[in-house]
Symmetry: D2
Subunit: 448 residues, 4 copies
Amino acid sequence: MDVKTEDFEVTRLGKCTVKSPLTLSTDDAGFVANFTINGQRVVLNNRVHKNDIDSYKPILLEAAGPRQMLYFDPSKVKAAIVTCGGLCPGLNNVIRGLVYSLWDQYKVRNIIGIRNGYMGLLPEFGIETMELTPKHVEEIHRDGGTILGSSRGYGNRTSDMVDALERMNINMLFTIGGDGTQKGANAISEEANRRGIKLAVVGIPKTIDNDLSFVQKSFGFETAVASAVEAVESATVEAHGTMNGIGLVKLMGRESGFIAAHTALASGEVDYVLVPEVPFELEGPNGFLENLKKTLLEQNRAVVIIAEGAGQKLLENFDKKYRDPDASGNKKLGDIGVFIRDTIDEYFHKENIPSTVKYIDPSYIIRSQRANSNDSIYCSRLANNAVHAAMAGKTGILVSKMHEQYVHVPIQLAVAKRNVIEPNSSLWLGVIEATGMPNLMMNSIPKK
Amino acid sequence: MDVKTEDFEVTRLGKCTVKSPLTLSTDDAGFVANFTINGQRVVLNNRVHKNDIDSYKPILLEAAGPRQMLYFDPSKVKAAIVTCGGLCPGLNNVIRGLVYSLWDQYKVRNIIGIRNGYMGLLPEFGIETMELTPKHVEEIHRDGGTILGSSRGYGNRTSDMVDALERMNINMLFTIGGDGTQKGANAISEEANRRGIKLAVVGIPKTIDNDLSFVQKSFGFETAVASAVEAVESATVEAHGTMNGIGLVKLMGRESGFIAAHTALASGEVDYVLVPEVPFELEGPNGFLENLKKTLLEQNRAVVIIAEGAGQKLLENFDKKYRDPDASGNKKLGDIGVFIRDTIDEYFHKENIPSTVKYIDPSYIIRSQRANSNDSIYCSRLANNAVHAAMAGKTGILVSKMHEQYVHVPIQLAVAKRNVIEPNSSLWLGVIEATGMPNLMMNSIPKK
Amino acid sequence: MDVKTEDFEVTRLGKCTVKSPLTLSTDDAGFVANFTINGQRVVLNNRVHKNDIDSYKPILLEAAGPRQMLYFDPSKVKAAIVTCGGLCPGLNNVIRGLVYSLWDQYKVRNIIGIRNGYMGLLPEFGIETMELTPKHVEEIHRDGGTILGSSRGYGNRTSDMVDALERMNINMLFTIGGDGTQKGANAISEEANRRGIKLAVVGIPKTIDNDLSFVQKSFGFETAVASAVEAVESATVEAHGTMNGIGLVKLMGRESGFIAAHTALASGEVDYVLVPEVPFELEGPNGFLENLKKTLLEQNRAVVIIAEGAGQKLLENFDKKYRDPDASGNKKLGDIGVFIRDTIDEYFHKENIPSTVKYIDPSYIIRSQRANSNDSIYCSRLANNAVHAAMAGKTGILVSKMHEQYVHVPIQLAVAKRNVIEPNSSLWLGVIEATGMPNLMMNSIPKK
Amino acid sequence: MDVKTEDFEVTRLGKCTVKSPLTLSTDDAGFVANFTINGQRVVLNNRVHKNDIDSYKPILLEAAGPRQMLYFDPSKVKAAIVTCGGLCPGLNNVIRGLVYSLWDQYKVRNIIGIRNGYMGLLPEFGIETMELTPKHVEEIHRDGGTILGSSRGYGNRTSDMVDALERMNINMLFTIGGDGTQKGANAISEEANRRGIKLAVVGIPKTIDNDLSFVQKSFGFETAVASAVEAVESATVEAHGTMNGIGLVKLMGRESGFIAAHTALASGEVDYVLVPEVPFELEGPNGFLENLKKTLLEQNRAVVIIAEGAGQKLLENFDKKYRDPDASGNKKLGDIGVFIRDTIDEYFHKENIPSTVKYIDPSYIIRSQRANSNDSIYCSRLANNAVHAAMAGKTGILVSKMHEQYVHVPIQLAVAKRNVIEPNSSLWLGVIEATGMPNLMMNSIPKK
């Protein structure tokens, strides 16, 4: 039989001819861990009906891990690390993991950090770097943020950035950032290839919104949810603290409501969750306001979470000036939180129901948290696998974890489309059940 | 010699003729605690120059504590508890402490909670109460907020409130609230007296801003500062995370910058603290903006705390509509945080210095925290002493702690003026030293 | 081609003839989640070499989720919940999730909790239960522990327990517990079947040690690791606080060192991790003590984690009395923590190196934590899926999550062998790298 | 009238002839803080009966604060800092505060830290110091412990220590430590004086047990209590988790039960508190065990706190070997926690009541915590005042806070006797009321 599988091979710089300095095993006996054999794959599509088993074709990604043969001679490696975009818990852990893995495992002695994101590679800002050794990064995992600094945008300045990398003789670039950053990373990888520079570009996907495809759960996401839950608990206390109190919390999520949904599930005390993926109307018998009124009359309080990207259509007529893309090329969003707060206020004023909205916008508090234990482990293992990949000459890839396995994903595959909540998924079902809110707050059923 | 002391006696309902059920001692031997003897005083003015010792006259407040003889027969007491104004850590602890002390120590079996502040005593809202027993309050100290609910205002509805209390046969009212609440409490006490009702009104002063006189440190204040420090740490991480990042945190403090000042001291990472007590200018060579620019050029980042009542003069020309008093009679404040954020943004844009302001307004998060250990102890001891005072027939008073001693303060004395930071105090000196900011950011020295 | 798969079917009580009250969809269009179709499977073996793709045979488990047709009529269900064995973060969340799912989704109105584990089903202790409604469980997820109470042992009292269940007309039993508990649950299921009682027994696997097969990460495990990391941070501070300070932390892990390993990875500050799966010697040039001495001389401090089941062989000659099994049938372990502490003390005393061991045993602190956000979500989803399974008449099964998919696992399969750390896994490699400790502290290589 | 006051003057090295570099004010107008005028006193005895007002004589301590005239020329100061004894939250904050105050306020540029307590001043260990600048201490307040290291004992090696200080030209020594440390500090001060060395010795009292006289609440104490409360909450969860569960927590407190008492008050969930100051018997109708049994039969669980120094008499017959003093000269205590745990176990076994004791000893976890916000502020203000005192040539003193005022206390006064809980104080009354335990668990009333 001809089993047709989709097997996503990744690009590599060339043949691996250097023996790895890692003292790992190649067989399963004994107490020593193994190298990852080239050709190892991870099965992505792990759900099948028993009747379809004969026609089941696994979709495959390359398994990450340490290779026995390397492309680079570690003593000749000069590695660079850059962090881009908004803050996210775990950035320092990834930096620390990269430095430790390069230095301790592969004995690489030239590691630099690029300051302030891609901005640090641009001549007009004065190319700015800092040396990185284990000593420099020893305690940074205890702090949120990034010791390198970050910035938004500049991902399209490929040629200037490759110029800078070339002048500094960088042959290994680790890009920690989201969609825009990784598109830029891929362009750098391709431009380097065109110029004949042997540069391995390996991305560690960062997206606090959890909206990158082929990244099941992004690093820092759990920490972010835990921090968001605390804000929701404050909103709940405030809602209980007055007659008809309404706690309203705006959470991150430009295109995807994952933080909002997980926070509602984890808190167990939320009445409404508004996300970008599920449309809603304000007015009308099945609209949000009428529903909220019912809740208020029943229980004298309500807790509402709104993702920053939710209900953007509602804003369109109100505020044209928020429509331009920001420096990262992200569509700039109107402030739905403030809009909904004011809308609720006016509505209950009009309805003559005394009520108060307590509005919390905890975004900067959430972003700046130190990674929790689980994210710490995750970040350091992503970092280790990124280093293994780069040493083996892989380029234009992300390291990711799918179904508890670390894999290599071609950047182009990962950035092709956003990861969003499927409204008919069990995740969203869980939210509907946990909140008791209607499936759809629309007066007529929209086409999906 | 005739030592003239100022001795603040408090009002009491009448002679104490009932023997206390507490099995305490009246002498210092043995392992059992003592009753507080009537006439015990606490010295307020505990600072003197050794050369002035002969002319030193202590100023005295009545010592709080359990009395051997009571005014009320516990079996005939019907007590009511009300929480008013904004949330503050420790409200539930005070409620719990009152109920436990009444029930367990004095065997009072009629205790009610008034719902939603003074609103719960007004006929048009339907007088609303709930029964309170140890069972009801057993675990409430683990949560922030108030199980009774709260509201602002209505403190001037004395006659209606005394009507309601009279109808319910309340003879003991505990009012947990701030300036406005306690003025209302005093009016209730006086009106009851005029009507010949034997009603003891005892206030537990609540002011998250710490701005009540004769209250050295208000309950919940430490918890609030600890929570504010976390927000400042987030702002610091954000400020480090980008080129010329400015972390800006708005904290509570309408008339007094105590939270802002203590938070700066506790965090140790703040560059500027703007409070209501110390004027500042924005423009000019010694203005805030020029100073901030210097800081930014030196260290590429800055952290700023602003109390909500700071710089209100600056807002006056900008936004007339925020000038009216709110429901509690507090002067409504313009949002100085948003104003300063926008002003800084514009200034650096004009100066052509790339920078980002990350603005955090953690007020609701701070207010809704659960009391920390120290505040828990403090709240329960305030509550105990409030019950002792009421049982002894004291009325129109607050219980307070001065110099580590619990005391009775006539409400009229406490509300006569606000507690503010003295700019020439050692507290403010500490802030100046901890931040390194100028003594005054004014272009000409103002008269104090 | 004849694709041979291993497909683990689960037992069910009979044909499903009752329509589910859940208003879910059966197709993928629209905004409403789907029922899980019978026959859906989850692929377990998700790793394959690309050259072996033709011979790849997926191993399959039944997918969990809501079924369109139920075995039980919800109005006739009487459900019971029992928690057994030691405390673990998340027990209350699972109880709450079960009650909410039964009550809100399936409208089951008869739910009881059995008190104190299997003990509550035994006549000699007086069968003790409590009613469970959403009101009873509304806030229990905020507390650690279990509101039902727990106990060890009694899992072999099958006949008595089925008697009790039969008398109470229970037709649905949810058993939250570990290895011993689930063996008992399976026996109950089989005995009920023999008696012709229609009883669905569904287990939610609880193992803070993470040592159950077919349970990739057990609920509460992340929370436990986070709490353990705090103890290790204390040990690190203590180790830094004196000349040659040695911080020693004993963690849970009778047969498996997962908590110890993950804690070391998450903390990033540990020098040695001793687990049951990897043998070590104390004496000799490659033994633990000689290694520890080297570390101490180099860095003047050391941090050591020891799992409670590690090095049990070393204890054998020292302390015979700790050898008997405990009430759950678990082999009773000697206290390796105290033993190692004293051994280290004596060794350095003998070596004339001034040093102090600070020994921390945080087990009860770890076990009693409230579940963190991620575990909260996990617990409620496990609970939902357990209810779906029971309603569909599945019995003798555990609900579990494998590769991010919820599945049904026959209890017999899950309890057949323990889950342990493979010393040649990437997890243990990570520990070796993160600590810098030798692969093996043995003077001669043992056979595995 | 001849007012006789007790006025505790402190020793100073000589006349103050150097103008302070601090730009403070000497009058009360304006926005700038004032110098502390020599002769300022703080009144200690702030409680008086109104009838005794004529005979009231204040007891006075010297007010701390910045002096206008200094003894030392800051440019010639060489300051040393040493931390001794067990860890306590806030040590790093005090170190940081001292360095910042010396460096930033007084422009002192020679500051060293002595490593590992007094051990670092002894020739046989190789005198070991480290340079201290703001850069070195910038972030240390975020960590528990002490960056200098600590040790116990050696306080009696006065001559050797003064030798070392003399050789290093130290003229200012800050000693952070407890009773033994400060006695040693006083001896150093006196020996230096005998030798004619101008050495200012200023102690910052550290006592996690809060047992130093003239120190109302020691730094780190609040943080310790907060941490202890968490352990008690774990014990409570464990006690609830099984039939007749008994949570037993051992807390610090060799001679004084302050931590135990405050923890019980703050937690609100404790049934028994055993402290060194209040004797108790185990056996007999009014003994602890009989009482505990009553509690267990009533509520099926109990939570007990025991201070490490409680019930030492009970141990005397059991274990002679624990009777020798430790390195600090502290009487070595038998482990009362383990003893009580085993005693309870045996008792209920004998009584045939199934029960389990869950024993938690969180001492190292408590000691190693980072200072909370309030302790952070307190530590830095103690440090500032210590520096002001030393610059003014005060020696042989402690800085302390009494009744919210910072003061100078002669070391000899402070170490003359221990601070203990008075059983007839309102603090202990509060504990009796909060727990509901008997005033005395003795079968016959002892003489106090």
